[in-house]
Structures are given as C-alpha cells and as structure tokens.
C-alpha cells in the first residue's frame, strides 16, 4: 500500500471513531439531559407530566413526613413550594431548611415524584443551582460558601 493509501486508511479510521463518538453523544444528549427548574419556574410554566426534571431549593420547615420507606416533603425557593414524594432512604445531610436537589417526574396532580434525592457531603455547601434560585427570589441569606 502506498504512503498515501496508508494515511487515508488512518484518517478514515479516525473519522469513523470520531463519527461514532459524535453520533453516540448527540443521540444521548437529546434523550438524557435533564433540565433544572426551581419551584417558582415550575409554577409559572408547568412541565408536561412524565418529563424528567431536576428541581432544587430548601426543604420547607415542618414539611417532612416519613412513613416507613415513603417520604414526603416540600421544596421551596421562598416564593413557591413544591410537594415531593420519595420512596427510599434519604441522604444523611437531608434536613429541614437545607438545600436539596431532586430528580424525577411531575405527576398529573402536581406532585413531584423523585427517584433521586441529593444533599451534599458538606453542610456548608449549597448546590449552586439552589443558590441562584434563591437569589432570584430575593430570599438568599449569607454568603453560603465559606
């Protein structure tokens, strides 16, 4: 095979692999990205039921109720609050008035059914999306990050 031919084969191989990677990435991006919304945004523009979402805010004071492995709580950004249900074990740092991010779907009754609930490793740390959401509502207090 000539030098040119060899180079063409290599370039073809590179393009093939890149094409595969790009195709995988584009198809996955279309189907697996999840949008982050705050309770206020959700109230202003309700999402279609069944679409995966990420929500975040503070766990509303006095809203947490546990029944065995079923948990109910509300997430608030100061202006609006959203009811959330979650079946499973809540993370260690899940507390009232603490920042939380949940992923799941909105059901027809307007309750958010979470399948993942994230609170952070560090009690001083607040998810950035939650900070921005709270700032937008003007209820942000303190610098949040040390």
């Amino acid at each position: 095979m000539t030098r040119r031919g060899r180079r063409l084969v290599l370039i073809g191989m590179a393009l093939g692999v890149l094409g595969l990677a790009a195709a995988l990435a584009l198809s996955a991006l279309r189907e697996s990205i999840v949008f982050f919304v705050t309770p206020s945004e959700l109230a202003a523009k309700p999402a279609e039921p069944g679409k995966r979402l990420r929500i975040g805010g503070l766990v509303e004071e006095g809203s947490v109720a546990r029944d065995g492995i079923d948990n109910r709580f509300a997430v608030t950004d100061g202006a609006k609050s959203l009811k959330v249900t979650y079946r499973g074990v809540l993370p260690d740092l899940f507390r009232e008035k603490q920042g939380v991010v949940a992923e799941g779907i909105l059901d027809a009754s307007g309750t958010f059914r979470a399948d993942t609930v994230l609170a952070k490793h560090d009690e001083n740390y607040m998810p950035r999306e939650v900070v921005d959401g709270l700032k937008k509502q003007g209820v942000w207090q303190g610098q949040g990050s040390k």
Binding site: M1, R3, R6, V9, L10, M13, A14, V17, L18, L20, A21, L24, A25, S27, A28, L29, E31, S32, I33, V34, F35, F36, V37, R54, R66, D67, G68, I69, R87, G88, V89, L90, D92, L93, V101, E103, L118, K120, H121, D122, E123, N124, Y125, P127, R128, E129, D132, S145, K146
Partner: protein, 658 residues
C-alpha cells in the same frame, strides 16, 4: 513558632522554584553547563523545604494546635490519631500542600535519577517543573495559606468532615495526587522537547516510566475512591459519573492512551507529534480536574465549601500552562519529523485504534462534563448531564476498546496478519460465548447491555490468555521449552498480560454489578426478617454505642443461609457531635467475589429503614484495578526500562535528529 517557620519554608520553596525555572531554562537556552547544573541541587533543597512545611502542618494537626485556623476548622482533639494525620489533606489548603509536596518529590526524583538524560533536556524538564511548582506555591501563599493564626485560640476544633474520617480517604487523595502530578513530569518532558525542537525514540523511553508510574497511581487512586464512595456514602454505587469522578477518569484515559502511543514511538519511532500532544493533554486534564474540584463551578456531590477567588487563580494557572504548551506545540510540532511507516493492519495500527477510541471516550466525557457550563453561560438554561449520558456514550466506546484489546498484541509490528490473529482469537471467542451463554441461562437472562458486556469481558480475558499462551508456545512446544520461554520472557510481557486481564476483570465486575444486583429497601422492627438473593436477614437488635468523637445507632443483623448463620452485619447510623452531622456506616460481608451490603436509614418510631444489596462479583471491579496496577508495576520493573534504554540512548545522543 511552627506555623511561622513552616510558612517561611513555603515562601523559600516558592522563591527557589522561581530561581530553578529561570536559571535552568536560561542556562539551557545558552547551553551553559554551570547554569544548568544549578537546577538539580535547587530542586532537592526546594523539595526539602516543602517537606518541612508539610511536616510542620502534620505536627500542628497531631498536637491539635487550634491557634491555627486550618487545624481549628478541620480537626478535633478527640479524633483518632490516624484521622488527625489524614485530616491534613482532608481540606483544601492541606490537600494543595500535599499536591505541591508530590510535585516537589517528582522534581527531586528527576534531579536524582536523571543522570542519564542529556543535560539540556534535564535542565528544561526541571525548569518547566519548577514553573508549575512556583505557580502552585504562589497559589497556596496567596489564596490558601494553611498556616494562618487565629487569635484568641479556641479551646476545641470543629472536627473533620465525618465522611472523611475514614481509612479509604486516608489513602485515596495521596494516590490520586501522585497520579495527577506524575502526569506533570510527562508534560514537562513534552514541553522541554518542544522547546528543544527535537524528539526521538529515546525521549519516549524516558517518558514511559514516568507515565507508567503516574498511570499506576491514577489506577489505584480511582479504584480506591470508587471503593470509598461505595462503602462510605451508603448508596452502594461504585461510580456516579459525577464531574469530580470524571475529572479523575479523563486523565486516566489520556495516560492510558499515552502509554500505548509512547510504546509505538519507542519501538517504531512513529506517532511522535501525537505522543507529545497526548502528554500535554494528560496533564491539562489533571489541571482541569483540580480546577473543577477546587472552584466549585460544577455541582458535584464531591464539592466542598469553596472560594471563587481560588477558582480564578487556578483558571489562570490552567490557561498559562495549557495555553502556553499548546502555542508551543502549534509553533514547533510541524518541525518534528514524521517517523516510521506502518501498514494499517499492524500492531501500530491497532495501537492507533486504541488511542482513537480512548481519546474519543475522553473527549465525550469532557463534552458531557463541560456542556452544562457552556449551555448555562450561553443561554442561562440549567441542565444536568448525568449517568444516562455517560452510560450511553463512554460505555460503548470503552466496550469497543476492550473488544479490540486482545487483537493488538497478536499482530506484528509494521505489517500484521489480521486473518491469523482472528483465527487465534476464534477459540477464545468461542469459549467466551459458551461461558456467557451458560451464565445467562443459569441467571435466567439479564439486561442486553450487561449480556454484551459479559461476552466482551470473557472474550477479553480468554483473548489475553491466548496471546500469552501463544508467546510461550503452550500446547505447541514441549513442556521444557515452554518453561524456558516463560523464564526468558521480559517482565513487560507479564505486565501487558496482567494489565489487560485487569481491565477485563474490572469489566466483568461492572457488568455483573450493573446487570444482576439485587436491592431491597424495607422498614424493619426488631425480630423482623428480610430476604435477598437467598440470604435470610433478621434484625436481632438495635443498640446505642459511643465512639471517640461520635455516637452511633447500630443495627445487629443475623444473616442466614439455609438456616445457618453465615454472618452478622452491624450497619450503623453515626452522629458526629462536633458538627452535629450524621453519617451512614454500611456493613459489608463478602461471599466469594460478591458482597452483601446493608445500610440503615432514619429510625422512625419502633422501626428502622434498612437498605440491602446483593452485588455479585462486585469486588472484581477493584481487584481488576489492582491487577492493572500490578501489571504496570511489573512493566516498570522491567530491566529494559531501567538499564538498557538510557545506555542505548546516550550513544544515540550526539547524532542529530533525523
């Protein structure tokens, strides 16, 4: 006194690093031996000063000197001694100091063992390393000084973040840093070679041990971090595709690619430009990882409280070094002569394919990690790119990589025989298909992707063994010949075998965990039973216990199989009093290669929520990583890397590059 002295030592180290950079690079540019000779002793003394500063911080932690802010915020007098020591790097300032210490150690090693490098290359490598060290020392001194005093000194510390009070975390960051910073040596070699405008097979031979060393530590560090998250966070997952985890996997992919391309360069003098680029990329990705972790621009479960000013500083360091290296690359790379030719079907060709797949996987990961940032900056929309994205992109690409892995070693250099290789692998593929089929039959099916992964993992194991058996003539030559060949084989050949087996074994563990794990979440009262994967678990009692700096609620669970008690699990819910922070302590029992995993949730009334997992073959994930690292270590100990190469290289030195 200690904090002040240690701080002063850091300032001196920073000044020395600057001296080293300027004098060494200037000396190399003027070809002045006296100036270049300054670099080595300076690197050693600088390392000594950084070590002194680090020892100072350790002393402060061990003696619980709360007059130092950093100790006050991250330590407690009641903590066990081992956590007082590991607390040193369980926080931002201390971990940056560790980073710099490892960097200084690497430079000192280059200075000590670099006698066989050409003097100009050595001076430039030490100069570039010095610049990196100076930048990070400045960063510490300007934004993250661990030795700041607190007046008046408090009586008691605020305690180390409880989830960091764990032996896994004691080992994980130092290993990872050895890996990250090890990449800086390959980077320094690449930049030095670009300044020099000359690069040859000897260069690859010097870079390979450093890359290999960095790769071994990255492998172990990532595996350790994964195991730590698995048992400490109590969710039973081994990988979350979290940005911070991705930040450690990307340099690993890049160094894996670099190892393979440096091999082509060493043996065949080809792929020079690409290898230099990879060396730059690997360290750039390490720096990016540091930036992502330290600046908090990405939301990650691993992000701790942080300070935006630091992010800006690290971003500046990142831009200067990465930007500078790429500009240099753009200017000099065209001048580097292309090397040996090879047919597409050859071992070189296979290694190119390996490199393409690994870098494609790395690029996809980078895209997924940075895409949310870019989208938010451009449109203000907040999205998260999580596990589903990475599973569907990086997953298939890495599966492809592992699938072609056994073919490479079976092809010869320059021009290979694909048909012959396929014939030799057919047997391995057949065995894999039979075993996978049998396993699927016994397991009564499973998810498609897990079945494919299982097949590939088994085939890669069989394929790697086939290649090895082929080399020693097993089943073909008489037994005496086989054992003679086995003894004559270089250690690097065993290294390849173990590393390739390791990745396949890890894949087997991953596939089994993903495809056939069982999970049960249940609310239990004392005396209640739960059943999972044939194990019968009874909650025998719940009790309160006191630790040195925590209280814990312990559930005592008896595990029975066929009526016989086979294990007692004691998962706990701990409360660390100083921070009033709860943690979950999972209880794990290993049966064969599988694990039974139990963790507790919140107690409510007279019952408690418990979470059980059965994870078949899960330990293979980490054992595979250990195998890989072992293979790397074997390869590193190969005589050819230690002795033969430099000697040959020196005789080749006076000859200008072709």
């Amino acid at each position: 006194m200690i904090p002040e002295l240690a701080h002063f030592a850091l300032v001196l180290a920073c000044a020395l690093a600057l001296v080293r950079t300027v004098v060494a690079l200037w000396g190399a540019a003027r070809d002045d031996d006296a100036l270049m000779a300054v670099a080595e002793p300076v690197a050693l003394v600088e390392c000594l000063f950084v070590a002194l500063a680090f020892a100072g911080l350790v002393t402060l932690y061990v003696s619980s000197d709360f007059s130092v802010t950093n100790v006050f915020v991250n330590s407690h007098s009641a903590m066990a001694l081992v956590y007082k020591v590991t607390g040193v790097w369980g926080n931002h300032e201390g971990s940056m100091l560790l980073w710099v210490l490892v960097l200084a150690l690497c430079s000192a090693l280059v200075a000590l063992f670099g006698a066989n490098l050409p003097p100009r290359l050595r001076a430039r490598v030490l100069g570039v390393e010095g610049a990196i060290a100076a930048a990070f020392l400045l960063f510490i001194l300007a934004t993250s000084n661990p030795f700041l005093r607190l007046d008046p000194p408090p009586a008691e510390g605020q305690d180390l973040n409880p989830i960091l009070q764990d032996i896994g975390l004691a080992i994980h960051p130092p290993l990872l840093y050895l890996g990250y910073v090890g990449c800086s040596v390959s980077f320094a070699f690449a930049v030095a070679a670009l300044i020099e405008g000359k690069i040859d097979a000897a260069w690859a031979r010097w870079v390979r041990p450093w890359t290999l060393g960095a790769w071994i530590f990255l492998t172990l560090g990532i595996a350790m971090g994964s195991y730590w998250a698995y048992y400490e966070l109590g969710w039973g997952g081994f990988w979350f595709w979290d940005p911070v985890e991705n930040a450690s996997l990307m340099p690993w992919l890049a160094t894996t690619a670099l190892l393979h391309s440096a091999l082509v360069m060493e043996k065949r003098d080809a792929l020079k430009v690409w290898t230099v680029l990879l060396a730059i990329l690997a360290f750039s990705l390490s720096l990016l990882g540091t930036f992502l972790v330290r600046s908090g621009v990405l939301t990650s479960v691993h992000t701790f409280a942080n300070d935006p000013a630091r992010g800006v500083f690290i971003l500046a360091i990142f831009s200067v070094f990465v930007g500078g290296a790429f500009v240099l690359f753009a200017l000099r790379a065209p001048a580097l002569k292309p090397g040996g030719l090879f047919a597409p079907i050859s071992r070189e060709g296979a290694l190119v394919l390996n490199n393409l797949l690994l870098t494609a996987a790395c690029a996809t990961m980078l895209t997924g990690t940075l895409y949310p940032l870019a989208l938010e900056a451009l449109t203000g929309e907040k999205i998260s790119v999580g596990a589903p994205f990475f599973d569907r992109t990086v997953g298939p690409l890495l599966l492809c990589t592992i699938a072609v892995m056994p073919i490479g070693p079976l092809l010869s250099w320059k021009r290979g025989d694909l048909k012959g290789a396929a014939e030799r692998l057919a047997f391995a593929a057949a065995i894999a298909a039979v075993v996978a089929g049998l396993a699927l039959y016994l397991l009564r099916g499973g998810p498609l992707i897990a079945a494919i992964g299982l097949l590939i993992a088994l085939y890669a194991i069989a394929g790697s063994l086939t290649e090895f058996a082929d080399r020693i003539g097993l089943f073909r030559a008489p037994l005496a010949d086989v054992s003679a060949r086995l003894r004559g084989l270089p250690r690097a050949a065993f290294g390849v075998l173990f590393a390739h087996l390791g990745i396949a074994v890890s894949l087997l563990g991953i596939v089994s965990e993903v495809g056939w794990s069982e999970e049960k979440i249940i609310s239990l009262k004392v005396g209640d039973r739960a059943e999972i994967a044939g194990y019968d678990i009874a909650l025998a009692g719940v009790s309160q216990r006191d630790g040195p700096n925590y209280r814990e609620l312990v559930g005592r669970m008896e595990v029975r199989r066929a009526g016989v008690v086979v294990a007692v699990l004691e998962p706990a819910k701990r409360l660390y009093e100083a921070r009033n922070q709860p943690t979950t302590e999972a209880a794990i029992e290993t049966f064969g290669f599988g694990q039974l995993y139990a963790s507790l949730g919140e107690p409510g009334g007279d019952s408690i929520v418990a979470r059980f997992y059965w994870k078949p073959l899960v330990t293979l994930i980490w054992l595979g990583a250990v195998l890989m690292a072992f293979g790397g270590a074997l390869s590193l100990s190969d005589r050819r890397l230690r002795i033969g190469a430099p000697r040959r290289a020196r005789s080749a030195m006076p000859v200008p590059a072709e």
